[in-house]
């Protein structure tokens, strides 16, 4: 009897069938999922191209990630290198090029599990920082993979603060060479990807010395491994930095340089050149270079930050309608856990944030494209604003999304803790984004510096960039909301966010001035305000994200129910922000305690509304099962069968020597004593 039941339940996992608990969720969608997917992709044509790329990659066994969770660091590295090499072939085969429309989807389709990413950074830095002659020499070599490049900036003791780097490059006029050294342990290059085992060349950032005088940080192309047998070059010590929380497939490395000589031509010299006699010459404007570095921060948002959160939401929300737990009403079946308000309150704000930041990213991309066009025309006016926005949003989005992925992980209870859920690896990967390309706190302080400057300028009646004009219009009103429905009006909540951002900026500016006037040195005063400055920068970005979301919703097509559901998500995103930062809104009485209760009421109402569309909203992200690589998040919802099947494949289920070696003697030992 029991056996019969068991076999029945196994039949449920037949291919093609969808777990009824998940199927029912899809029948009640209030909008057209396919249209939303197209909206996210930027048009149906883009969706088609993306799917074609994903399909080509996923149907190729070399790119399989099937056993990824069982692999060791060495196996992961090997697979990533294999994939990188195979990718060249594949691209050729498919006719994909670096400038083609398919290119941007390749990385996403591979889920980033591929080696030689730093090779591209190597090439980009040569293109940006190199002279025409250097570009002509190195780029073809790199393109044809005659060498593998890396990018060695960070040192063991120095990260964010570039001027603090300790590696030296001393110019020797006699031989026309630079002599590179890492004079101390803290000067050792540490972390560069692809450098631990793969790279043959790297761009080393070092303090340039000519005739005993230091000229600051400059980039040098240094060969570190032989092109014949891959052995380390003389004077080079390099290796892998060992285990990390994730990125097992990347050989992050260390590099020690002992009197390594490179020819004069190896200093990347688009902006500065060292002449044969040792004369140092600056040429051109570095501003364009500055712009490129800023762009990197924005470029990582989509693939490295938003994608993991969207995947995590997909996994957690699908699982939450399959998992049943306890009873909501006596006598009924156990309820889907997504029907619990507390579970909705964990997951749905993350879903709303994923959409909000998706649109923020669009906004930033557009802004940067405009900025790029301006810069082409030698107009650098937009640079400070772009820098402030890219720094602030990189920090805010990475932090928010990292926290969001962790919430998804924990919302899946015990099974979320299994690597097979896919969530731990999404989490450990995304959290590195809070640190690389600029540590978040430091980036927020850069945004804050811009805000304070603009606030001062605006107060003095000077013009300021468009994103901060609101700082000039300080109003002293109160929130006009009268009932909970008023808080579903974008005007009301945008105004509230604006008020908070202005208050935090102006208060901190005032505190800063007070401190300086009372005789505190400028830098000390700054340090004493940094906690509040960080808050101001966050409030600024939060305000722009909310405002942009609301403006995007307004422009959406009203057909197919898309605008309506996006409006709900926008409201949820805005109200969740208020609900979780009540203090900031109540602080100066702009919002009253009674109004705050209205916010809570509206916010909780929204959860129940969005709950109905939760599954269609994650379906619209359009992740394939292979790209999710999760036993909990698959489209068909056969969570438990998959978990059981995958577990049985685990190498830990092969007979382990531990029994023979340790357990048996232990058991035997006691048996003999009995």
């Amino acid at each position: 009897m029991a056996l019969l039941e068991a076999s029945k339940s196994w039949q449920g996992s037949a291919p093609g069938s969808v777990n009824p608990d998940l199927a029912s969720e899809r029948q009640t969608a209030s909008f057209c999922v396919e249209r939303l997917t197209a909206l996210l992709d930027g048009g149906a044509e883009q969706t088609r191209i993306r799917r074609a790329v994903v399909d080509a990659i996923e149907s190729d066994p070399v790119f399989s990630r099937e056993n990824q969770y069982f692999q060791t660091q060495n196996e992961r590295y090997e697979a990533a290198v294999r994939k990188a090499v195979h990718l060249q072939k594949k691209m050729h085969e498919m006719g994909w090029t670096e400038n083609g429309p398919e290119y941007k989807y390749i990385y996403r389709a591979l889920s980033g599990d591929v080696a030689f990413l730093l090779h591209r950074v190597f090439m980009r830095s040569i293109s940006v920082l190199g002279s025409d002659k250097q570009i002509a020499k190195w780029i073809p070599l790199a393109t044809q993979h005659k060498l593998i490049g890396s990018y060695a900036q960070t040192e063991l003791g120095h990260g964010t603060y570039l001027q603090g780097l300790e590696t030296t490059a001393v110019f020797d006029t006699a031989t026309q060479e630079f002599i590179l050294n890492t004079p101390k342990i803290s000067a050792m290059k540490w972390w560069p990807g692809d450098m631990g085992r793969s790279a043959t060349h790297t761009v080393v950032f070092a303090q340039l010395y000519i005739h005993g005088k230091c000229y600051g940080i400059h980039p040098f192309i240094v060969q570190i491994r032989s092109l014949q047998d891959h052995s380390l070059c003389p004077g080079i010590t390099a290796g892998d930095i060992g285990p990390k929380m994730n990125f097992e497939h990347i050989d992050n490395g260390y590099l020690l340089l002992r009197n390594v000589r490179v020819p004069r031509e190896n200093m990347l010299s688009k902006f500065c050149e060292v002449r044969p006699d040792g004369t140092y010459v600056r040429q051109g404007s570095q501003k364009i270079n500055y712009f490129t570095m800023t762009t990197v921060r924005i470029s990582l948002i989509s693939d490295e930050v938003l994608t993991p959160l969207m995947k995590a939401c997909t996994i957690a929300i699908r699982y939450s309608v399959v998992r049943r737990q306890s009873k909501l009403k006596p006598g009924e079946q156990e309820a889907k856990i997504l029907d619990y308000q507390t579970q909705q309150e964990k997951l749905l704000p993350q879903l709303a944030a994923a959409y909000a930041f998706y649109f923020t990213n669009d906004y930033l991309q557009e802004l940067f494209n405009r900025g790029y066009r301006e810069i082409q025309r030698k107009n650098f006016d937009m640079l400070p604003e772009l820098h402030a926005l890219s720094s602030g949003f990189k920090a805010v989005i990475t932090q928010h999304c990292t926290a969001g992925v962790e919430i998804c992980l924990r919302a899946c209870g015990g099974h979320g803790y299994s690597l097979l859920s896919g969530l731990p690896s999404l989490y450990t990967k995304i959290l590195a984004s809070c640190i690389y390309e600029g540590e978040n706190t430091i980036l927020l302080l850069q945004t804050a510096r811009f805000l304070i400057k603009c606030f001062m300028a605006a107060s003095a009646g000077q013009p300021v960039p468009p994103s901060v004009t609101y700082l000039a219009a300080v109003k002293h009103g109160k929130c006009p909301a009268k009932n909970k429905l008023d808080f579903l009006s974008p005007d009301i909540y945008i105004e509230a966010y604006q008020h908070v951002a202005v208050r935090l900026t102006s208060n901190t500016a005032a505190k800063l001035q007070d401190l300086i006037q009372s005789g505190v040195k400028k830098h000390d005063a700054w340090n004493q305000c940094t906690v509040q400055l960080v808050q101001a920068a966050k409030a600024h970005c939060h305000y722009i994200a909310v405002k942009n979301f609301a403006e995007t919703v307004e422009k959406l097509e009203t057909k197919a129910g898309i605008q309506k559901i996006m409006k709900h998500l926008c409201d949820l995103f805005a109200l969740h922000g208020i609900f979780s930062n009540t203090g900031a809104f109540l602080h100066d009485g702009y919002t009253s305690a009674a109004q705050m209760d209205m916010v809570t009421a509206s916010y909780l109402d929204l959860l129940a509304v969005i709950r109905k569309d939760a599954v269609p909203l994650v379906d619209a992200f359009d992740f394939t099962d292979k790209s999710l690589n999760s036993a909990l998040g698959s489209y068909d919802g056969h969570v438990y069968q998959r978990l059981y099947e995958w577990a049985q494949r685990s190498p830990t289920n092969q007979m382990s020597p531990a029994y023979e070696r340790y357990l048996k003697p232990l058991l035997h030992n006691t048996l003999s004593k009995l």
Partner: protein, 755 residues
């Protein structure tokens, strides 16, 4: 080869001249035989010694080169032979003395020397070959003496003025702990290899190796006290999970509390001696927190007097139990009991799962490892599927509920008893929250003092990152939190011990409150510590991301505690249920006691009708006890507000369950506020108990920091309650900044004692 004899061997020399008693002819003959035999034997012993010496040397060098031993058997044989011969020699020399051989004393001395050399070699032999297998008899540690001595030292204050009150409180068991620590740390068998470089299978193997050794050493050292076992275990495994955790932590205790005396005879001693290794299989693939939903069945068959166990669906497969995957040969399985056609609910059964001797799964049992996880690599969390697996009737744990041979079910007397264990385990998690967060803080704060970055002042060297306000803001509140949680953990443990005395005597009145409180505190502390550990890691920048920083491991090991032993949100709602009950009591005119007694004030206000939120409280922001009042008001307001929202939902004629669900976010907030209040209150209360003025001062600052940080993080709640008018709240923020700059607060606090 006798040295003494060789010079004047009796066989070669004539009977001694001048010997006072001349031996007779027959005795002379006997003596000659005796001496000759002794000579031969002694020569053989000498030979054995020399051979063994050189072979031991050879094997010792093999050992150093990690090569296999070559001569263990030969050496054993030689030494055994030498020992037998020596025994004969001693007997013979006694005889020689009796026969008055003039040189007998010298010969005896020579034999004694040979014996010493052999003894010496035996010691070397054991040292080389039997490092693990020759336990000395009796405890090696003289606990009584050490305790006595340490107590004297403590009392005499020989630790100097630095031996603070605080340290004594933090490390209640430091005295034993330090000795055990030394014992383990000095033991080469427990050498700490770098786990970061091991694969999952290797980590499991190392853990099981250490566990096996640990059990042997516990016996060897005669350590049996649970507290001592706990410390020993935590030093062997450095606070990491190990495959025998569930055997020691669940299987044995469950046998103790739920088995009948007969069952204890059958299972407890074999389990204690590790003939049986057991685990505790409760959670199923599809069912965790909601115990009644478990699907595994145990159907009683009176014809054979057996239970038939089944996992009828995929979701009913037992999933997660530690030690189940590869280690255990028994499991206590929780299953729905069916007898005489009726379901009698969940009961516990002892189920053999693997063959003793071969360790192969028994027929009808499917068992294995659930695969890779975020952390817990050393633990073989497993799955278990049972198909018509039969166990005898006597394998149901029957101390409380029973099934008689004919299938008649006998109900247990009280079902509240299981509360006790849950409370105990949850109290351990609170302690674990404090410890894990302390570890992460120690690493992050030390690193922040060593790491230099950017410039604060132009032209000056890069400052320690700990000098940045933003870094202090990240780390110091967490440090204060770690201290706060430590005191909470100690409080729950003490209260549990106090109340559990009552449980055994049948007084359960305090249990509901403690149960409700520990549920919430378990959730509150584990959530906070979980986030805090991550903040510590982030505060270490890139290097924090390297596993070698140690923080990733702390995190992945700690984070499941938000889920196990009661999912945190569910825990919070349990506390909320108690709060709502207490609130209802108060509104119906009854008084409540304990930590919720602040709710009594609500009814008092109702007499002079005034909304609780409208109360004006003057808060002194540099006075912890005044801050406790603020937390109290916030908790009262949120409890009241949740209760009113719940009532409003009910007034909309929703069902009780629906109303509860639609209020649950409010309810969780109320619980959080309640727990937060309890923690601030306990921390503040602790200050008064600290004798040392300097320690009290620094703890007071930490307590203030903890309380103020909570206020700034939840400013909205406090502003809404009007406990703070707006301007003092501003002051709170600036005071917070001042507290952050406390000079040298790190130097005073002995964080190292927690590592």
């Amino acid at each position: 080869m006798f040295k003494g004899v060789a010079k004047s061997s009796p066989s070669r020399s004539s009977p001694s001249r001048g010997s006072p008693a001349k031996p007779s002819k027959s005795s002379t003959n006997e003596l000659a035989v005796l001496i000759s035999r002794m000579q031969t034997n002694a020569d053989q012993v000498e030979k054995d010694i020399l051979e063994t010496q050189s072979r031991l040397k050879q094997d010792s060098s093999n050992h150093q080169k990690n090569k296999a031993f070559e001569f263990q058997t030969e050496n054993a044989r030689n030494l055994k032979e030498a020992e037998t011969l020596l025994k004969d020699l001693f007997l013979d020399v006694d005889r020689a003395k009796r026969l008055r051989h003039p040189q007998a004393p010298e010969i005896e001395k020579d034999i004694q020397q040979l014996h010493d050399r052999v003894t010496q070699l035996c010691a070397e032999y054991r040292a080389l070959y039997e490092q693990l297998n020759v336990p000395e008899v009796g405890p090696r540690v003289d606990w009584a003496r050490i305790l006595d001595q340490k107590m004297k030292q403590v009392n005499a204050g020989q630790y100097g003025p630095g031996m603070s009150e605080l340290e004594k409180q933090i490390a209640e068991h430091n005295i034993l702990q330090k000795e055990i620590e030394a014992l383990v740390l000095n033991d080469p068998d427990f050498q700490h290899e770098d786990l970061n470089f091991l694969s999952r299978s290797q980590r499991y193997e190392q853990a099981i190796r250490k566990s096996s050794l640990m059990v042997m050493k516990l016996r060897e050292y005669g350590i049996a006290d649970p507290e001592e076992i706990y410390w020993f275990k935590s030093f062997v495994h450095r606070g990491r999970p190990e495959p025998l955790d569930l055997h020691l932590g669940m299987f044995l205790p469950t046998l103790l509390t739920q088995a009948t005396p007969e069952q204890q005879d059958r299972f407890f001693m074999p389990a204690w001696n590790l003939e049986i290794i057991g685990t505790y299989a409760q959670t199923e693939m599809g069912h965790g927190t909601h115990l009644r939903g478990l699907e595994t069945t145990a159907t009683y068959d009176p014809s054979t007097q057996e239970f038939i166990l089944n996992s009828p669906t995929v979701t009913s497969i037992k999933w997660w139990p530690g030690g189940l995957g590869k280690t255990s040969n028994h499991a206590i399985v929780l299953a729905q009991l069916y007898t005489q056609g009726q379901c009698k609910g969940l009961h516990a059964f002892i189920v053999p799962i693997r063959q003793l001797g071969t360790h192969e799964p028994l027929p009808g049992i499917t068992v294995g490892d659930i695969g890779p996880k975020f952390g817990y690599d050393e633990m073989d969390n497993g799955y278990l599927k049972m198909d018509n697996f039969r166990i005898p009737r006597e394998n149901m744990l029957m101390k409380y509920a029973q099934v008689e041979p004919d299938g008649t079910y006998v109900k247990p007397v009280s079902d509240k008893l299981t509360y006790g264990t849950m409370v105990f385990i949850r109290s351990l998690i609170v302690g674990d929250s404090a410890r894990s967060l302390s570890r992460a803080c120690t690493i992050a704060i030390r690193y922040s003092a060593v790491r230099h970055q950017s410039e604060l002042k132009p032209g000056e060297p890069e400052p320690q990152i700990l000098d940045y306000q933003t870094q202090q803001y990240k780390l110091f509140p967490l440090l204060a939190t770690a201290y706060a949680f430590h005191f909470v953990g100690a409080y729950i443990k003490d209260t549990y011990h106090r109340i559990s005395g009552d449980i055994s005597t049948g007084d359960l009145t305090e249990l509901p409150e403690l149960h409700a409180l520990t549920a919430g505190l378990k959730a509150f502390t584990s959530w906070t510590a979980n986030a805090g550990i991550e903040e510590c890691r982030m505060a270490c920048g890139g290097h924090g991301y390297s596993r070698c920083s140690g923080i990733p491991d702390i995190y992945v090991t700690f984070t499941p505690s938000c889920t196990y032993e009661g999912e945190n949100t569910v825990m919070m709602l349990q506390t909320a249920r108690f709060l709502m009950k207490s609130y209802t009591q108060v509104t119906s005119g009854q008084q409540v006691t304990g930590m919720v007694s602040y709710l009594n004030d609500l009814s008092r206000q109702r007499i002079q009708p005034q909304h609780v939120a409208a109360r004006t409280v003057t808060v002194r922001i540099n006075d912890p006890s005044s801050l406790v009042e603020a937390y109290k008001s916030r908790a009262a307001r949120l409890v009241e507000s949740a209760a009113k929202n719940l009532q409003a939902e009910l007034n909309h004629r929703r069902s009780k369950e629906d109303a509860w669900n639609r209020t649950s976010v409010d309810l969780v907030r109320a619980s959080e506020a309640h727990c937060h209040y309890v923690i601030v209150k306990l921390f503040t209360a602790k200050l008064a108990e600290v004798g040392d003025a300097a320690v009290r001062a620094v703890l007071t600052e930490l307590c203030l920091l903890y309380a103020l940080f909570g206020i700034s993080r939840n400013a909205g709640d406090f502003l809404q309650v009007s406990a703070f008018s707006r301007s003092p709240s501003l002051k709170a923020a600036s005071l917070l900044a001042n507290v952050l700059q406390m000079p040298g607060c790190m130097d005073v606090i002995p964080i190292s004692s927690w590592l």
